[in-house]
């Protein structure tokens, strides 16, 4: 599986990863080489098999609908890179 530069840029875009031209080049080569090693999976006959997404067979694990403590607002914002009026502050979301 050989990736193109465009594919690498598209993946970076989906992942919201900024990427330099040099990184495009580097990741293209590395990811292509990793993906080549993944091709071995295509040899496996998995017909009729259910996928496994969790290794412990639990079901119906619920929390009762009861309230518990929230954090003080100072702790909610204690790691905030920027804040104003007890809220997180970010660049304008409407473009």
């Amino acid at each position: 599986m050989q990736l193109t530069d465009e594919e690498v840029r598209h993946i970076a875009l989906l992942a919201r990863l900024g990427i330099s031209d040099a990184e495009v080049e580097k990741f293209r080569n590395q990811l292509s080489s990793i993906l080549e090693n993944m091709d071995i999976l295509q040899q496996v006959d998995t017909s009729g098999l259910e996928p496994t997404s969790q290794s412990v067979a639990l079901e119906n694990i619920y929390r009762e609908d009861e309230t518990g403590p929230s954090l003080p607002v100072t702790e909610v914002l204690s790691n905030a890179p920027a804040q104003e009026d007890n809220s997180l502050k970010v660049n304008a979301v409407l473009e």
């Binding site: 990736l3 594919e7 690498v8 993946i11 970076a12 989906l14 992942a15 919201r16 990863l17 900024g18 990427i19 330099s20 990184e23 990741f27 590395q30 990811l31 080489s33 990793i34 993906l35 090693n37 993944m38 091709d39 071995i40 999976l41 295509q42 496996v44 998995t46 098999l49 259910e50 996928p51 496994t52 997404s53 969790q54 290794s55 412990v56 639990l58 694990i61 929390r63 954090l71 702790e75 909610v76 204690s78 790691n79 905030a80 890179p81 920027a82 997180l88 970010v90 660049n91 304008a92 979301v93 473009e95």
Partner: protein, 487 residues
């Protein structure tokens, strides 16, 4: 008393309980040794010496009141991906360099409740992605046996700190071998419990369906002691099982007569270092001497697909788990722009290191439209096969034994630029995470002056048998008593 830092938990506890030693003395000894050797080993991300001595004093009071559990007053180190309230939890990443959690991880709560003494947070590969700690954004940890070698990873700081007696024990986390591989490289004991045995609440997620917290200790008895303390159901982690926790130390009877020990042939891989093979062969003979029935024909035929399946599943989950690091709520935040999207992208570009970005890209790709079925879904189905392999093997075996890693610790820098080679060092450990079964690595000799790790694999929630086998082997061999001369 000299060399208190060399004690195991059970030895330290005996002295504390009988008031032959105080926790403050023990902690001072540990801190003194830590300060002496860590400039070379570099296992610690952050020292918590001040609070450690306060905890030690509190532990001494508890002991005086007769309220001591086995971990009370015993110094320990926590991998820096478990949240510690009020103490930076960096995950080895620039992204979280200044992140101070407002809450404790479940395991940290449990340790604090037991009056454990936390002396440091341990270095690690960034977001637990790596096998050498070279991916730490801050510095590389050195193997106490040979300082120019890696300690393994991602819990390299935890394993090296135990091997170097910078602590009595440590906690690590294991997604594909991150406890067992560094434990093997550093000549200590490292257990990855069954998935669902220990709460992940407060463990910074890498791959949620594979991550598990476990102990790194100086012997198997200590491993059972720590597992006793951290295992159990937690209602905040819906994937923990609501099963009772047995006293694992009671399983350590040394009697493994009749125990069916399987040596799956697929694990004696090509490219395995001769010294590692020799150690495994010697271990097999040892098992037979102890009265176990060794089966060398047992097969886990889908092992060869483990690596590929793992490097699809783990990065896929990681790509979602690491999406929250966007510079909005906490952590590194790129601010030199007025564009929301640019801020987010640059935050992630500059906040994450190369391996993390590589895996986010890989996972994003495997889940993306048009590739999901060929990669992610396929890997999930292969996961089913790998699980079935283990189920089948455990029909005829009680435990499986394999090398922990095909090689001993490699040189720092040796594999740093070759991700595929680096990934291969987890080839023996990651199928265990895929299946969700427990695995423990214990010291089994040396090759080229570096420790060889022997991996024991148990059934789901079969930690008792697993630890009994490991303990019997350990007690019949001298390896766990050997200490590195750090120079």
């Amino acid at each position: 008393m000299n060399d208190l830092h060399r004690l195991t938990i059970h030895e330290a506890h005996a002295l504390l309980k009988d008031k032959k030693v105080s926790s403050v003395e023990l902690t001072r000894s540990v801190l003194k040794n830590l300060e002496a050797v860590d400039s070379k080993v570099r296992a610690c991300m952050r020292l918590t010496a001040d609070t450690a001595l306060e905890s030690a004093a509190a532990a001494d009071k508890a002991i005086a009141r007769g309220k001591a559990s086995v971990l009370t007053g015993v110094p320990m180190i926590i991998k820096d991906n478990m949240c510690t309230k009020g103490v930076t939890t960096t995950c080895g990443s620039k992204m979280l360099e200044n992140f101070i959690p407002p809450y404790d991880a479940h395991v940290v709560e449990k340790l604090k409740a037991a009056n454990a003494v936390i002396v440091a947070k341990a270095n690690m590969d960034e977001f637990a992605m790596g096998s050498s700690t070279e991916n730490s954004a801050f510095f590389t940890t050195h193997n106490p046996w040979k300082l120019d070698c890696v300690p393994g990873g991602s819990s390299g700081g935890s394993a090296a700190s135990v091997a170097a007696d910078e602590t009595i024990y440590a906690l690590g986390s294991d997604t594909g071998g991150s406890i067992r591989q560094p434990a093997g490289f550093c000549g200590v004991v490292g257990l990855k419990p069954t998935y669902g045995r220990v709460s992940r609440f407060g463990l910074v997620a890498f791959a949620s369906s594979l991550d598990q917290i476990g102990p790194i200790t100086k012997d198997v008895t200590d491993c059972a002691i720590v597992l006793n303390a951290i295992a159990g159901h937690d209602k905040r982690d819906s994937t923990t099982v609501p099963l009772g926790v047995p006293d694992y130390t009671r399983a350590l009877t040394k009697d493994i007569r009749g125990l069916r020990v399987g040596v799956p042939r697929e694990y004696l891989v090509e490219g395995m270092q001769p010294g590692v093979r020799k150690a495994i062969e010697a271990a097999i003979i040892q098992f037979e001497k102890l009265g176990a029935k060794v089966d060398r024909k047992v097969s886990l035929p889908n092992t060869r697909y483990g690596l590929a399946a793992y490097y699809i599943l783990a990065p896929s989950e990681a790509s979602a788990n690491l999406a929250r690091y966007d510079g909005v709520k906490y952590g590194y935040s790129y601010r030199d722009t007025t564009s929301m999207w640019e801020a987010m992208e640059k935050t992630r570009q500059f906040g994450f290191g190369a391996e993390v970005k590589r895996r986010i890209m890989l996972g994003t790709y495997a889940l993306s439209a048009g590739y999901y079925d060929a990669y992610y879904l396929k890997a999930q189905k292969v996961r089913t096969l790998i699980r079935q392999d283990f189920d089948k093997a455990f029909d005829s075996c009680d435990v499986l034994v394999t090398p922990t890693s095909p090689t001993v610790a490699f040189k720092i820098g040796e594999k740093a630029d070759d991700p595929v080679q680096m990934y291969l060092s987890d080839v023996c450990t990651l199928p265990i995470n895929i299946a969700g079964v427990p695995g423990v690595s214990i010291p089994a000799g040396f090759a080229d002056g570096l420790p060889v790790g022997l991996q024991f694999i148990g059934k789901h929630f079969g930690e008792e048998t697993l630890l009994r086998a490991a303990h019997a082997y350990e007690q019949a061999t001298p390896w766990h008593t050997m200490k590195p001369a750090i120079a």
